[in-house]
Symmetry: C2
Subunit: 112 residues, 2 copies
DNA sequence: TTGACACGATACCAAAAGGTTTCATATTAA
DNA sequence: TTAATATGAAACCTTTTGGTATCGTGTCAA
């Protein structure tokens, strides 16, 4: 399962884009509204929004002459899935450690 | 809380580095062993390992003339923390939706 | 002691990324 | 209809990034 999480991970790598995502959780915004919140050109912000959209993390919906951007929860699934691999890894390592300690304790008890 | 997750997110943005992390969950490896698994120079792989180390996702421990690299679970905390913000966001949105639907149902029931 | 080995570090290169400026186009409001 | 508004898109620039090649250094083994 070599799902293409690359665009999503790529999108999260930039602090401005992560900030945009957080702000969009408060309310949906037009491209202009998003741009007003940053000290950079509207064109630059729009590029970031395109990257976020390519990563599936936001949707951009034309509404008249404006474009409404909103966070897309589904886009985070690839990220979560990839990370869950490691969560399972930690869990099993912890289980092994736990088992080892318990066995060690039993061993000590038998020694006494 | 503007914790510095930037190095960690940066480290995850490259597919080679994510692959390295996955391979290191199977077993710890020296720099040379990691490099042998990729069709690029040892120097290139070492750069990736440095980025991963800067992101706190791996530790590099000198052992004689070798350097053992291993995944560091603690380094994933900033990532998980940042994502949990959105998980909460989804949860509350789902709750709101659920509540809204329930109220709507009650409303309909009253109308009938 | 002397190679062979594993790594560090530097210089260098091409491509990608982040940003600006400029101009074009479609909508809306007056 | 016309002017202001919101966005699209292209050209251009600088910095990062991912990669190579090269040389230096510490460590181990014969």
């Amino acid at each position: 399962m070599t799902s293409s999480q690359q665009p999503a991970f790529r999108a999260l790598a930039d602090p401005t884009r992560r900030e945009i995502l957080q702000r969009l959780t408060h309310r949906n915004m037009t491209i202009g509204e998003v741009a007003d919140g940053f000290e950079m050109t509207r064109a630059a912000v729009k590029k970031h929004l395109t990257v976020l959209s390519d990563g599936g993390l936001i949707t951009m919906t034309p509404k008249g002459r404006e474009v409404v951007t909103q966070v897309d929860p589904l886009g985070f699934a690839p990220i979560r899935d990839w990370l869950s691999f490691f969560e399972h890894f930690w869990d099993s390592r912890l289980d092994s450690l736990k088992t080892a300690i318990e066995q060690e304790n039993n061993h000590d008890a038998n020694d006494q």
